[in-house]
Amino acid sequence: MKISPEEVDKVARLARLDLPREKVELFAGQLGDILDYMDKLGELDTSDVDPMYSPVEHTTVLRKDEVKKEYSREDVLSNAPEQDGQFFVVPRIV
């Protein structure tokens, strides 16, 4: 299946990537080839097959709903590009 540069650009924007025109065109060509290759899965009849999303199936692991303080605020904020000692700081929204 072919994918147009416009589609690549749209998906990129939704994925919060801003690509220059030449890269959009390059990716469109490459992704088209990859999708062509992937289309071979259409040859297989899977109408009665349950999807397998993980090799570890039928497990629902739930922990107790208890508040725990595993890490300090200082640790959690330690890699933030911008913080004020209390919170992560981001550009103004409103």
Partner: protein
């Protein structure tokens, strides 16, 4: 001992416990070897020399601890395993300055076992690649021939062990990323069963495929490392709660009587480089000489594995990588005046080409119009692939075939992404099915003189058998040389 760096992990452990050498001597030997070989192989992203030497001196002062199975042994960690206080970059600009405040469970277990982590290994950015040419920092080269790649994405881990910088490293395998570099670099690489080793603290790529495993110069060493890192971890909901066998007890078998090895026709046919085929067939003949029975089996969906894998891996990657937004950690663009623009600029600047390509591809196959045609379809084919294996294992105990159709290729040779993806044809199925796989070096290619790896795949949680058979075969094959560097 001037040749300390060439010793295996098991040999070093013995010498350390007998106090024939000190931890400091061993660590210094590795650091000297790193200094001598690193300008050629570029296997590492960072070296923690001072911290390692300090730890070594403290350990020497306290004396050997026989209860710690890796006491005093230097190791290298792939740079996507979180290490407390040490940068963990994932070979990406976006995590260039990220310093975790916790250890990955596998790393914590190595430390508890007495291992000294001395460096972080280069890799393909976010583990996306089969050659270690996709690192944002530098390309790692193969210690056997520095015109060639070491394989990927754990190419740094493979090259550091092959170049004798350390006896053992941890890698991760999403579609063959331990086994391929192990094969290209002539070392042992084991991808455990999905769920055998905790993934907590590993930067996720394809969450339903990723698994951490050892890369070493002997099967016994792989068993020692796996013994330490295997086992249930409540911090990882996909970690399986079942007993860990004694892997070392499985070693030392005198023959392969009673072992049936399945040879999938799809792995031994057309497209296989003759020198790879010959080296692998010679190893199988040796296994037969040792008493193993071989039977033909079929993994008829092998041709569909790559398409299935890349749909699933890219979908999971696009989802996993959405967390990189420049807010809590990672690179942030400082010029953006509003939030969405900050996300976009930070991600665009931080991610390399291959990562961006996979995010877009993954988002596309998950999008509402294409979800059923691609992602759901791939998940259905995944189950069919697993059934293929279940059927094959009705006839045999292990499956054997080459790790890769060729030996290590030249750097820059696979510029087209699809060509690169096809390198993983024999390794990917084990990840999709969640089964263990191991690369065992079986000699050098007749023409290229480059290492060739034989792959074993087994039923879920059959690492014990795989290690036992691998070690018996290793002992009876000509010893693998060390590359001259």
């Amino acid at each position: 001992m001037s040749d300390l760096h060439t010793k295996t992990l098991s040999e070093l452990r013995e010498a350390l416990l007998a106090r024939e050498v000190t931890v400091e001597q061993v660590v210094r030997a590795c650091l000297d070897r790193i200094e001598a070989t690193e300008p050629e192989v570029h296997a590492l992203i960072s070296v923690q020399a001072e911290e390692a030497l300090k730890q070594a001196r403290e350990m020497d002062a306290a004396g050997p601890d026989p209860d710690k199975p890796l006491w005093g042994v230097p190791m290298v960690l792939k740079d996507l395993l979180a290490t407390k206080g040490v940068t963990t970059t994932c070979a990406s600009k976006i995590l260039e300055n990220f310093v975790p405040f916790y250890d990955a469970t596998s790393v914590a277990r190595l430390r508890e076992a007495g291992a000294v982590c001395i460096a972080k290994a280069n890799m393909d950015e976010f583990a996306m690649g089969s050659s270690t040419e996709n690192s944002a920092f530098h390309t790692t080269l193969n210690p056997w021939d520095t015109d060639r790649v070491p394989g990927g994405s754990s190419g740094g881990s493979g090259a550091t062990v092959a170049a004798c910088q350390v006896p053992a490293a941890l890698g991760t395998d999403t579609g063959g990323s331990i086994r391929l570099p192990a094969s290209f670099c002539g070392i042992v690489g084991l991808k455990p069963t999905y769920g055998r080793v905790s993934r907590f603290g590993m930067v996720a790529y394809g969450s339903s495929l990723d698994q951490i495993g050892p890369m070493t110069r002997s099967v016994e060493d792989a068993a020692r490392v796996l013994q330490v890192i295997a086992g249930h971890d409540p911090k990882d909901s996909t970690s399986v709660d079942c007993p860990v066998p004694d892997y070392l007890a499985a070693l030392g078998r005198g023959n392969l009587d009673g072992v049936t090895i399945g040879l999938p026709e799809e792995y031994w046919g057309e497209g296989l480089d003759p020198e790879v085929e010959n080296a692998c067939r010679a190893a199988i003949a040796k296994a037969e000489e040792l008493g193993a029975k071989t039977v033909p089996v079929s993994l008829k969906l092998t041709d569909y594995a790559i398409a299935t894998y890349y749909i699933i891996a890219m979908a999971e990657a696009s989802s996993n990588l959405s967390r990189f937004d420049g807010v809590r950690y990672g690179h942030r663009n400082r010029d953006a005046e509003e939030l969405i623009d900050m996300y976009t600029r930070s991600r665009t600047e931080g991610f390399g080409d291959e990562v961006q390509r996979r995010i877009i591809m993954g988002a596309y196959v998950l999008s509402s119009g294409y979800y059923d045609a691609y992602y759901r379809k791939a998940a259905q084919v995944r189950r069919l692939l697993r059934r293929d294996f279940d059927k094959a294992f009705e006839q045999c105990d292990l499956i054997a075939g080459p790790v890769c159709p060729t030996v290590a290729f030249k750097a820059g040779d696979k510029a087209d992404p699809l060509q690169m993806y096809l390198m993983d044809i024999f390794t990917i199925s084990a990840n999709l099915a969640g089964l263990p796989g191991m690369s065992l070096p079986v000699g050098l290619g007749a023409d290229s003189k480059m290492p060739v790896g034989l792959q074993f795949m087994g039923r879920a949680f059959s690492e014990e058998l795989m290690l036992g058979v691998g070690e018996c075969l290793e002992r009876n094959l000509e010893a693998m040389p060390v590359p001259e560097m």
